[in-house]
């Protein structure tokens, strides 16, 4: 427990700040919360309406509504991508101000008189107060990853409208609600983890299911994202060189910080960033060099092997040497690039090429993902709208560092809104490219061959075949005509030219410094092309396209490499903890036990490495098969988080408002279970795919490579099928356990703090504002708080 003096030392008030005049208006004075010592520790949340405020919100609502109607009804005309930014920002603002506030008042009932875990424990390590603005940044860095950059790109085949609806409405009603409420239940329970909370609230069985699910989900997410990175790096010497060089750069940064300038994080990060930019530039020279380029041209299987070896080395090397410095770089890239991109979109003002709905929205055999719009679009766009994994992050470090309960809305809900905004930007990147280019990039070689049909020629270039395939697809552009393949660039004289057809694809590859952009599935290439177009508009012009493209690839790859290290490490500990539950294997619970470390690392790497290998070996490129597995597992985890939140809400006696987590829960269960069901039974199922391959193999018509491909695809399909069944059973059981707990609570009518693991009230001694910017009243309270602290400290001194 903290005493007053410690808080005083932590926030030694500046002399000027002591000048507190009791200038509260009567309405303001009523809202100030004081503890038993008379310290003002918070401000009661209240919506205060003034005329300018009301007008401002009305204006936001009107602009948002205009934006939505433009996106929804425009047919046969060009629209600007800036409307997407406007629609997103207006919707987020309204949701944050009104819906999240409603949840705060009705469900969370945050009370600044109550101490948060940071104040209760206050151990100076993890339980240490963090300024709300700092914590917002750290929490966002924690939840953001490559996921939201991939899903919207793949979903763009169906048109922009379903995607933009799900990204924005999904985050408002589901994703951000989940993040905020998990953060809230964890902050009320001393920052316990998801698995521990499930054990406390739903019994040991529920906790165990959640723990196992987390490990499997981590492995799948790692394999999927690593596959995306590998698809972007394969046969691209520029990307392989520049991303490979991040390892020596990280080592250099690690040594710099360890031996030359201990603890100077910012300096080290800047040094690393400069090296990174030089590295990307150098990659261009490597790609142009006839001697060096072949050395760095690696195939996908070679990259898998390299990645697995790398992750092993990363786990064995000391943390400060490789992992920590690369975390710095990726955090800087995350936040910096997001800002650059938004500015880029505003300046470039690209126009949307894709219609609200394409013909593929009504079929189930689009190239980037198969299945109907419902449910598969919603699981393809996973992380930007609803991501179960955020539950694990929201119950990690953030609840241990949050200063006041009233800040939970800003940190939990606000961070997820930014994450969703990243997804909107990824969507813009995909829909501002010409559709022909989009499909040529996102169809695997096998799909191009099948779609081109008779126009396919083994002698023709991949570009020619890709154009033939897109011409065979009956997909319209935004003006209602058959889609085309175009690329805006400049000719030898520097005059702007719009290249078309096969020429567009070769010119695009040349501009971007790649050998070819055909069949670069996975979304990373598409995203990078879009991003390069935005950034070149104000930073460097046409000549910088190759640099920005590889900057974007680097941006995604850094996320993914961080994921690979972090995921391996986390999965390793989770596996160790699970094994330690078995009596004979107790030793695995000790993280310093070396043999145990090696074994759990092996298991973790084998899990994701195996899945990744199978994805790469897949003849159809793997992405198509992996997307549903990844999306379903992530969103099933979200269902588990929402179930856990519902249990807590009902146990606290707030069943009247349980609809807030239950609505997204029901929707999410409908989506994931339908998708999973279709992946187990019926024409889209993995088992049907497996049966087809089995028939082909048994017929004896296949030979050589085709036979090997079919065998690989067969085992992939079986594994994916088994995983789908596993998910369905695990989460089905978890949900039943949750429903039983809810029913029991409702029937017995026993509710309240004593029925949950929520910690009882402890008086707070801290004050901090709630929102990103302190209000006028909060500034007054801050002054009173500083003055009172000073006074109390002096009294204590006098008494001593």
């Amino acid at each position: 427990m903290t005493n007053v003096a410690s808080s005083a030392a932590a926030q030694a008030p500046a002399p000027g700040r002591l000048e507190f005049e009791n200038d509260y208006t009567p309405a303001e004075a009523e809202r100030v919360i004081r503890n038993s010592k008379g310290l003002p520790v918070g401000v009661r949340p209240k919506m205060v309406w003034t005329w300018p405020k009301a007008l401002l919100w009305a204006a936001i609502a009107i602009v948002g509504a205009i934006g939505w109607s433009i996106l929804a009804v425009s047919r046969g005309e060009q629209i600007s991508a800036i409307w997407f930014v406007i629609v997103a920002l207006c919707s987020y603002a309204i949701a944050y101000r009104f819906y999240a506030y409603y949840i705060q008042m009705k469900i969370m009932r945050t009370d600044d008189a109550n101490a948060t875990p940071a104040e209760r424990v206050h151990d100076g390590a993890n339980f240490e107060r963090a300024d709300r603005r700092v914590l917002f940044g750290q929490h966002f860095a924690g939840i953001s990853g490559a996921g939201p950059l991939v899903g919207p790109i793949l979903a763009a085949q169906m048109g922009y409208l379903p995607s933009v609806l799900w990204i924005i409405l999904g985050v408002i009603l589901a994703g951000a609600v989940q993040d905020m409420l998990v953060l809230w239940i964890s902050a009320k329970r001393r920052g316990r983890s998801l698995g521990q909370m499930a054990t406390d609230e739903m019994g040991k069985f529920g906790g165990m299911i959640l723990s196992i699910f987390l490990v499997v989900m981590t492995a799948i997410a790692m394999a999927f994202l690593a596959l995306v990175a590998i698809k972007a790096m394969a046969s691209s010497p520029w990307a392989v060189f520049s991303i490979g060089m991040t390892i020596p750069i990280a080592l250099l940064m690690g040594c710099y910080q360890r031996f030359l300038r201990p603890g100077r994080v910012i300096e080290t990060t800047l040094l690393g960033f400069v090296l990174l930019v030089l590295d990307i530039v150098a990659g261009g020279y490597i790609a142009d060099s006839p001697v060096l380029a072949p050395i760095f041209t690696l195939t996908a299987p070679q990259l898998v092997i390299a990645l697995v070896i790398y992750s092993f080395a990363a786990a064995a090397l000391p943390h400060w040497l490789l992992v920590t410095p690369r975390d710095y770089l990726s955090t800087l890239m995350k936040i910096g690039t997001l800002v650059l991109l938004v500015i880029g979109i505003l300046i470039a003002n690209p126009s949307v090429q894709v219609p609200a709905l394409t013909e593929l929205a009504f079929t189930s055999n689009g190239p980037t993902f198969s299945g109907d719009l419902f449910p598969f679009l919603f699981i393809t766009i996973a992380c930007g709208a609803l991501s179960g994994f955020h539950g694990a992050v929201s119950s990690g470090l953030t609840p241990k560092a949050v200063e006041k309960e009233n800040q939970i809305r800003m940190i939990g809900y606000g961070s997820m809104l930014v994450e969703s905004f990243t997804a909107v930007i990824a969507l813009i990147a995909a829909i501002t490219l010409s559709q022909g280019l989009y499909f040529a990039t996102n169809m695997s070689a096998a799909q191009i061959q099948a779609t081109a049909g008779e126009s396919y020629s083994a002698e023709a270039s991949p570009e020619a075949n890709a154009v033939a395939a897109t011409e065979n697809m009956q997909v319209s552009d935004i003006e209602g005509e058959q889609m085309t393949t175009t690329w805006e660039s400049v000719d030898e004289n520097g005059d702007p030219v719009v290249y078309e057809g096969e020429e567009a694809l070769t010119k695009a590859a040349e501009d971007l410094g790649e050998q070819s952009i055909v069949s670069r599935t996975g979304g990373a290439t598409t995203f990078a092309m879009g991003m390069a177009n935005f950034l070149k508009s104000y930073l460097g012009g046409q000549g910088s396209l190759g640099f920005w493209y590889h900057f974007a690839i680097m941006f995604e790859a850094l996320f993914i490499l961080t994921t690979v290290d972090n995921g391996t490490r986390v999965a390793r500990y989770q596996i160790g903890e699970m094994l330690a539950n078995v009596k004979r294997l107790k030793k695995f619970g000790d993280p310093t036990w070396k043999p145990g470390n090696i074994i759990t690392t092996l298991v973790a790497t084998a899990l994701w490495g195996g899945l990744l290998w199978m994805g790469v070996a897949d003849a159809n490129g793997g992405i198509n098969a992996m997307v549903p597995i990844f999306g379903i597992s992530n969103q099933l985890l979200a269902a588990a988080c929402l179930m856990l939140v519902t249990v807590c809400v009902v146990k606290m006696g707030r069943a009247k408002y349980a609809w807030i987590p239950v609505i997204p829960l029901v929707w999410d269960v409908a989506v994931t279970f339908t998708a999973d069901f279709q992946k187990i039974f019926g024409p889209l199922s993995y088992f049907t795919t497996a049966a087809n391959y089995r028939a082909q193999i048994d017929s004896g018509a296949l030979e050589g490579e085709a036979l090997a491909n079919a065998r690989a695809a067969l085992s992939n399909a079986y594994l994916d099928g088994v995983l789908s069944v596993f998910f369905l059973v695990m989460m089905g059981v978890f949900l039943i356990v949750g429903i039983v707990v809810v029913a029991k609570t409702l029937i017995s009518g026993k509710v309240g703090v004593e029925t949950t693991s929520e910690e009882p009230f402890v008086e707070s001694q801290w004050f901090a504002p709630s929102g990103l910017v302190a209000t006028k009243l909060e500034k007054k309270v801050q002054r009173e708080y500083s003055a009172k602290l000073h006074e109390l400290a002096q009294n204590a001194e006098a008494a001593a």
Binding site: A130, S387, F389, V393, G396, N566
Partner: protein
């Protein structure tokens, strides 16, 4: 002119403060503050010692950042 300069200075200090906090560079300062209150009169760890201890702690308590 002076007013603008002061404002710029304040903004710069704000940016430096934010970066130091968010990157964890300011952690040692917070440790010192914390230590002075909890263990008055004792000698705190040096910055290098503190960083080593912190590293060891982080190694044994990996935090879950999102993989997606």
């Amino acid at each position: 002119m002076n007013l603008v300069l002061n404002k710029l200075k304040r903004a710069w200090r704000g940016i430096v403060w934010y970066l130091r906090e968010v990157s964890g560079e300011a952690r040692y300062d917070h440790y010192l503050e914390h230590f002075a209150v909890e263990h008055p009169g004792e000698t705190p760890m040096s910055e290098v010692e503190y960083l080593r201890a912190r590293e060891e702690y982080d190694r044994l308590h990996p935090n879950t950042s999102c993989c997606c």
